[in-house]
């Protein structure tokens, strides 16, 4: 591994929305960090989040919270365009996908190759075990119980969601 020929450091890219930070996010990022030596996190732009009117925090606030996590080296805002622009900018060796994210790993590998990144590995991180809210769906479950089913309509998982 190692796209950057000047360094043996393995750079990992994780991505997500990270609106209401929960233990499942912490698990995903901790496991992502363990895959390599430095962890970059791409935080989805407001404009790229489906159901963005339901975001609790703006993109810069979400980025700041993610960057404050101990396992995160750098958190950046994503591209307004394709995710491959962020890949071009960050030049990761590995991209990690959360267990409940709508990426198909094989398809993502193919797309990376098609966009000129044939050497980037894709790793799916497994679900959290143990106590605590493990996914945004769980947080949304609380919202649904509180506000009624209609509150869920626009809370559909976007691909960017972590």
């Amino acid at each position: 591994m190692g796209r950057d020929e000047t360094s043996d450091m393995v750079r990992v890219l994780a991505q997500g929305k990270f609106d209401v930070l929960h233990p499942g996010h912490v698990h995903y990022l901790t496991e992502s960090a363990a895959v390599g030596d430095e962890l970059y996190v791409v935080v989805a732009r407001d404009s790229r989040v489906s159901g963005r009117s339901d975001l609790y925090m703006d993109e810069e606030s979400r980025r700041q919270v993610v960057e404050a996590l101990g396992v995160v080296d750098v958190a950046v805002l994503g591209s307004e365009g394709s995710v491959f622009e962020s890949v071009e900018r960050i030049q990761p060796d590995v991209i990690t996908v959360g267990f409940d994210q709508d990426w198909d790993v094989e398809e993502l590998r193919d797309q990376l190759a098609a966009h000129g990144f044939p050497d980037v590995e894709v790793v799916r991180i497994g679900p959290m075990e143990g106590e605590g809210v493990s996914s945004s769906s769980d947080v949304r479950g609380v919202i649904k119980r509180r506000e009624g089913p209609e509150a869920m309509e626009s809370l559909v998982d976007p691909p960017e969601d972590g």
Copy 2:
């Protein structure tokens, strides 16, 4: 300073609810850490949060997210009783209070003295400057705009709120 005679480390205790983590929380905890050498965070128990039916996450989930922050050394759940039980357990040199928390600093100092902790300092942390959601009220502002004024009724700041 230094209640623990075996150590010159200055132990800081911060406290709050930390339900939807935002940059204001990060600011409060970063500034709290800067006051001393190690930062303990007491996360309010579900049972001690007024408007607890509006919590998005249970106490253990909130604790895990706080402990994942880089500036936090230890995050523990608070006492089911008085905050002074946590003070007794953690033995801090300094307690920090957020700029928007309902503690009166002088009154807290008096109460600490009355409970046998006359040497614990109390420091109020100032508000965040710069971009980003700076307080839970801001997050609630978003909720209010989305859900209507009646959604705010039970979202009154409790003393435990960070």
